[in-house]
Amino acid sequence: MIPDLGKYAVTVLSSYGASLVLLALLVAVTLWRGRKVRADMAELENRLKTKANRDG
């Protein structure tokens, strides 16, 4: 399956590995923080709205 990389196999594979890991990490952190912040904001807005309604 994997093409013959000759004597540079380690070089090529490790640079692909390192890059893909870094990219995946970046995307994962982005999505994780995005979800968390989105949920936090929704909760806060909800709380303020119910409070505003309660206070009339």
Partner: protein, 250 residues
């Protein structure tokens, strides 16, 4: 309809929400196709052997490392001149992406340098200026996270971005000058020529097309990430403002 309408945070959120999936999928597709094409279906280079496959990661990330800084520069200018909050937050959102791209370029370059130049690192002007670019990213990100008030932070980081750009260019020339003093470093200079711009003609079509696909993929990925992260920054700022509001009411 003016483009500036999207400077309204709420409008930006709804619009970016709609277009984001397109960017995510397109960028994913391009990167996967480009990398698979490049990795599996291109031959080895006659001189560099299979290491030429690294180019599909190295060049797009190097490209985006610089372009991200340029985008931040433009966004900073927009903030300073027109004071649209979204553009300041977009600059903030782009910085970590650009920094990651710089790291990828540095790491792949270093790994590549080992077989090609026989060393992981040489103080070649281009490599050195990339390292300096990375330092500027670090300072920019650190300044953003150190300042409490978001508007103050936006102003200060924007000015830092402007001044930093000027100094980055100055450094680039300084580094060029500095390493010419290196008389014994012919091997480094020859190796440096490999990364020179004139290689583009030498890159034959067989390598060129998958490379293009990868570059497009990286650009799209950058856009997707920045759009998404800008949304996150907008929400984070709203959370801050709402908490201040709650405190004031209390």
């Amino acid at each position: 309809m003016s483009l500036w309408e999207y400077a309204n945070p709420k409008k930006f959120l709804t619009t970016s929400e709609r277009v984001l999936p397109v960017f995510w999928w397109l960028s994913g597709a391009c990167i996967v196709i480009g990398l698979i094409w490049g990795f599996f279906f291109t031959p080895d280079d006659y001189r560099q052997g299979s290491t030429v496959k690294i180019i599909y990661l190295h060049v797009p990330s190097a490209l985006m490392a610089i372009n991200a800084w340029l985008m931040m520069l433009v966004a900073s200018l927009i903030w300073l001149i027109r004071r649209h909050h979204v553009s300041a937050l977009a600059a903030r959102a782009a910085a970590p992406v650009g920094a990651t791209m710089t790291v990828i370029a540095l790491v792949t370059g270093a790994i590549w340098g080992q077989p090609m130049w026989g060393t992981w690192w040489a103080w070649d002007p281009r490599l050195t200026s990339f390292l300096i670019l990375f330092l500027f990213y670090l300072g920019y990100i650190a300044l953003w996270s150190a300042i409490e008030d978001p508007d103050t932070a936006a102003d200060l980081t924007s000015v830092l971005c402007l001044v930093g750009s000027v100094f980055a260019i100055l450094s680039r020339y300084a580094v060029n000058f500095w390493n010419q003093g290196l008389h014994q470093g012919a091997s480094v200079m020859r190796a440096g020529a490999i990364t020179g711009t004139d290689t583009e003609e030498k890159v034959s079509n067989i390598f060129f097309f998958p490379l293009m696909v990868c570059m497009v993929g990286f650009v799209l990925l950058f856009i997707a990430l920045v759009l998404y992260r800008t949304g996150t920054e907008i929400r984070a700022r709203r959370i801050r403002a709402l908490m201040a509001r709650e405190r004031m009411a209390a």
